[in-house]
Amino acid sequence: EPEVTQTPSHQVTQMGQEVILRCVPISNHLYFYWYRQILGQKVEFLVSFYNNEISEKSEIFDDQFSVERPDGSNFTLKIRSTKLEDSAMYFCASRGRTGEQYFGPGTRLTVT
């Protein structure tokens, strides 16, 4: 069965540093998403991406965040200057024409 993959599984960074989280969506999917889950809390929508542009974003997704599909296979989330409160699990998801959304295993980001 096809699956969404994410790298790294765990990223530790210092406050103020830039991080890039990577995702490889399912190959024929066209819609891509990032979600965030602060430890022990609910999963929150960050951004959706279609046709090489952001289609929707939440209040969390401020100017510190950006997304990109640089090469037709990867889908990345960049945080320009990380804050302590950015520590969370970040999930990538992709969706095809059937409507089913597949989640990746997540990247745990720890900002120290």
Partner: protein, 112 residues
């Protein structure tokens, strides 16, 4: 706006007893409903979904859920709980082309 309510933070059941984890939703349009399970320090694991068709949906590990349109509910059930079912359970809703909105999660504890 769409929303999901999981009214119970915690559900405790004895092993072998039936379990129910409650979920109600609000959405404009036809809902796509999902249940996910999350074990400590792990990602979201898909359990089951309702998109259309039979209101009773069967999923992984013996779980099932019943879609009730009039009550806008999608409760997760299992006839006989196992200790290994102890985890955090999330209900999620979306419309076809939209983002997923998650509930706050319910911690299920199954005692031997």
């Amino acid at each position: 706006a769409q929303s999901v309510a999981q009214p119970e933070d915690q559900v405790n059941v004895a092993e072998g007893n039936p379990l129910t984890v409650k979920c109600t939703y609000s959405v404009s349009g036809n809902p796509y409903l999902f249940w996910y399970v999350q074990y400590p320090n792990r990602g979201l694991q898909f359990l089951l979904k309702y998109i259309t068709g039979d209101n009773l949906v069967k999923g992984s590990y013996g779980f099932e859920a019943e879609f009730n349109k009039s009550q806008t509910s999608f409760h997760l059930k299992k006839p006989s709980a196992l200790v290994s079912d102890s985890a955090l359970y999330f209900c999620a809703v979306r419309v076809y082309a939209g983002k997923s909105t998650f509930g706050d999660g319910t911690t299920l504890t199954v005692k031997p």
